[in-house]
């Protein structure tokens, strides 16, 4: 993995020293291993991992000779000093490295042929390059019954462990879940959790990536492939709005594994993935995946070829009725743009919208200076307003924890408890009254302030967005949006609104509906959408997974998922990044951009391009927010889209009053409680369902016991949920989990996810 920290050899304050007889320089404070690597000299390491914090010198692999110092020194924990004379390849340094490797290999089994790490194993590689190649150890190696399941996704082969402590430090110092430890001592030392516990959390899979040997391996990937029969492709995670950079391991046309990239994107995820990003790929071949085009005719359903399905879709769309186009939150920028082009040319007059939060009042805060996730590390004060980043934009949690470890003050304000509240000072706001809580915030002085704000929570309270924007402006702070939708920012950059089609459909002005990765009947406002779409006569669905929409569509055209298509996603911080196909779409499916271009051809308005890259270039030329971008500019690490035009934070409306009677509904989400997690077998043992959480006092008042079931009813719709009474949740609100497939909490909400009250009763 990342192994060595990036070093800026042109920075101010360089220190000159001698490395293997060469006069070189590196910035003061750089660790010798990093400086050497940047200067083209590899000092072997195992335990060193700059992202885990200060070096601990546990493995002793990086021994080098430094003139004037007794014995060999560990280069990982020795900063460069002026005029030091370092030799990494002298006889004595080589002897030290040989000795350490011989020690590390004493108890290490020679099971490389059956070890998953073989071929991409730092221990194997460095033994070949730096090791003695011969052992003098004739005694019996230690043996363990093998392997041990550390969790449902991580296998532990204890005899392979070289006690480098990387995984323990990740758990203790990065994820701070404090669950992984080294038990016993000496030759008996082993990685473990509290006896009887599994290693479960939001970030556990990262220990697989950082293990420098085959001790920790991925159970879903175990024994499926060898490094030489896979190809790795850099891409973007399509399961949250953070734009996490990932690497897709492709084998025989399928995604076999998702890992962090060998060169992390330090501005975004810094090489740490959430377990959702890492293990959701198994859902790419889930049973509800659409693999064959369908045409419904007089109640009969028949499978068709892609060509015939696109023909049929063009026929239906071209009949002259009033067309509405829905672009879902996982659609790429290209797909959104091509849909807009269809509405502008071939289907002139068609209404089009994205499925998402309209967020009319959010431009005041969105137009404040943006920060990247990587900027959180260096902030003096981090303010989190609303939301639940650990569950919704998980990797933000690691950044905030890192900032706190570096001394930043953390203040959270919001209506729902979440895992980052104990990290700093937590202010509980009343539901629908964020503005008052923001106004009452007493923020300490800080050299730099970053405000993270939740899109859905602030969209429901435009005056809170204005109040927050004023604070950001007054303090000279920068802001990060905690976005709700994967490519919400990308679709907004295209100028797609979020209300047109619903409005027109409700008024009976839509005859034909084209959905692109859009599933309005399972999302927020599902009940309202159900009513509005009742009068639509024909539906065309371009979708990857079966849904209530595809079940009732005249033509269903299977689309590639984000694992299988080229495209651009814009992250919630405004970073345009490229999806690269790591897998081949099923035979009966094609990338959405290809399908939309084909549709435009059939409808007699062929666009002048035939590739995703050219489609994106056309989008960039046509939309000011994307100006100057193309696939080359975006490159491997992404590029920012244009800033939002400044909007005054003053003159926003007062609080939006919630519709309906009863308790205010506070929606919650769970990282493993969404369709992606429910589709992935790997996440089967951690996935969670929907529940209604009430303060015990509310439970008593309503006469509802812990574990009972309750019916929730809002002006929009109703659903039935299991009830949990929890004292850490405040009274005066009903907390219900959204996003869980089949639970129906979305039916309670309006399509714009605005505030509602719910009546609760025993069913």
């Amino acid at each position: 993995m990342a192994d060595y920290a990036p070093v800026d050899l042109t920075a101010e304050g360089q220190v000159e020293f001698e490395l293997n007889g060469r006069r070189v320089s590196a910035p003061a404070g750089t660790m010798l291993v990093d400086a050497a690597y940047a200067l083209g000299v590899e000092v072997p390491i195992f335990c060193y991992e700059p992202r885990l914090g200060a070096p601990i010198g546990a493995c002793r692999m990086c021994l080098v000779e430094i003139e004037g110092m007794r014995g060999l020194q560990t280069a990982c924990s020795t900063p460069v000093q002026p005029d030091m004379v370092v030799r990494t390849n002298s006889d004595i340094a080589k002897d030290g490295q040989d000795g350490v490797l011989e020690f590390l290999l004493e108890n290490h089994p020679l099971d490389c042929p059956v070890c998953d790490k073989g071929g991409e194993c730092p221990l194997q590689d460095r033994t070949f390059r730096f090791g003695p190649g011969r052992t003098r150890f004739v005694e019996a190696k230690r043996h363990f019954p093998k392997p041990l399941d550390l969790s449902s996704v991580i296998a532990l082969d204890r005899e392979r462990c070289i006690s480098c402590y990387r995984c323990v430090r990740f758990s203790q110092d990065v994820a701070e879940d404090k669950a992984l430890v080294m038990q016993e001592r000496g030759a008996a030392a082993e990685i473990a959790t509290l006896t009887g516990d599994q290693y479960e959390g939001r970030f556990t899979g990262n220990v697989i990536d950082i293990c420098p040997v085959g001790a920790l391996t991925s159970i879903p990937y175990r024994f499926t492939a060898r490094p030489w029969d896979v190809t790795n492709t850099p891409s973007i995670c399509g399961h949250d709005a953070t734009g996490t950079n990932v690497e897709l391991t492709l084998r025989e046309g399928h995604v076999a594994r998702v890992t962090a990239r060998p060169e992390p994107n330090y501005a975004v995820e810094e090489g740490w993935l959430s377990d959702l990003s890492r293990f959701a790929y198994e859902g790419n071949r889930a049973p509800d995946r659409l693999t064959a085009p369908l045409i419904r005719d007089d109640g009969r359903v028949k499978e068709a070829s892609l060509d015939d399905a696109v023909d049929a879709a063009a026929l239906v769309l071209g009949r002259g009725g009033r067309v509405g186009i829905l672009v879902g939150p996982t659609a790429t920028v290209e797909e959104g743009f091509l849909a807009q082009e269809l509405a502008r040319t071939a289907l002139g007059g068609a209404r089009i919208q994205r499925l998402g939060i309209p967020g009319a009042g959010l431009d005041a805060i969105r137009s404040q200076p943006r920060a990247e996730l990587g900027d959180i590390d260096g902030a003096g004060l981090v303010v989190i307003v609303g939301g639940d980043p650990p569950n919704q934009q998980s990797i933000v949690e690691l950044r905030v924890r890192k900032a706190r470890r570096r001394g930043a003050a953390v203040i959270t304000v919001g209506p729902r408890p979440h895992a980052l509240e104990p990290v700093g000072t937590a202010v509980r706001s009343e539901p629908g009254r964020l503005a008052a809580a923001i106004a009452a915030l007493d923020l300490p002085e800080a050299a730099s302030t970053i405000v993270l704000w939740d899109e859905a929570d602030l969209a429901a309270e435009p005056d809170a967005a204005g109040a927050l924007a004023r604070i950001v402006g007054d303090r000279g702070a920068s802001q990060i949006e905690l976005g709700a939708d994967v490519n919400g920012a990308g679709l907004r950059a295209l100028g797609l609104g979020a209300g047109d089609v619903l409005e027109a459909a409700a008024a009976g002005e839509i005859d034909t509906l084209l959905t692109i990765h859009a599933d309005p009947l399972d999302g927020p406002g599902a009940a309202d959408w159900g009513w509005a779409l009742g009068r639509v006569r024909a539906r065309i669905a371009i979708a990857a997974y079966a849904s209530a929409v595809t079940d009732a569509s005249t033509v269903v055209i299977p689309a590639a998922t984000h694992y299988e298509t080229d495209g651009v996603y814009v992250s919630m911080t405004g970073r345009a990044q490229r999806l690269r196909p790591g897998a081949t779409a099923p035979a009966g499916a094609a990338p959405g951009w290809e399908l939309l271009i084909a549709l435009a051809h059939r409808l007699g308005a062929p666009p002048p391009y035939r590739s995703a890259a050219r489609a994106f270039a056309a989008a960039a030329a046509a939309r000011p927010a994307l100006a100057g971008l193309d696939y080359d500019v975006i490159g491997v690490l992404g590029a920012p889209v244009a800033a939002v035009t400044p909007v005054s934070p003053n003159g926003v409306n007062g609080p939006r009053e919630a519709a309906g009677t009863g308790l205010p509904l506070v929606t919650t989400t769970r990282i493993f409680g969404n369709a992606a997690a429910h589709r992935s077998e790997a996440l089967a043992s951690v996935r969670t369902g929907a529940e209604l959480v009430l303060n015990p006092a509310e439970g008593e008042r309503l006469g509802i016991a812990d574990g009972a079931r309750a019916r929730l009813r809002s002006p929009h719709g109703e659903c039935i949920l299991a009830v949990r009474l929890a004292a850490d949740h405040p009274a005066g609100a009903a907390f219900a989990t959204t996003g869980v497939p089949g639970a129906g909490v979305e039916r309670l909400l309006p399509a714009d996810r605005g505030p509602v009250n719910v009546e609760i009763e025993a069913p």
Partner: protein, 166 residues
Amino acid sequence: MNAAAISAHIEPIRHEYAEGRSLILPALKYAQTEKGHLTREDIEAVAEATGFSAAYVESVASFYDRLYLQPTGQRVVSVCVTLSCMLRGSDELMERICDRAGVSHHGGTSEDGMITVQEAQCLGYCDHAPAVQVDAEQTRGPLTLDDADALVDELRTSPRPDELWR
């Protein structure tokens, strides 16, 4: 043992330790006096009293030989097998004690659950080699093989101390 009892024991001595985590050891030692070994509940209580994770507390307990994560016999005999004692016959002494207690020569707990025999590294009692330690506080030596028999018989019939410091 519950967290409140452990807190009551460690709070008065907290000022003696520069780092909070150093309190885990006296807390574990005290928690063990109740049953003679540490259960998951004890580990969790120490975690709560010291503010560290249960996994971390268990890792500390697992490092030390005299903190027991499995039940032991009523009394524990630790036979020193380090150099001085070995030269003075600790191998034979260990075997004799094991035979008398009815456990294998590697040590273990007797079937009646009265005595656990284990090897120990240097007890600092080299001038009395070969030496053994009974529970935590009592070190005896030099022991002849007959003394060993007497020791095992004595421990088998003597009552278990109210507070077990091991």
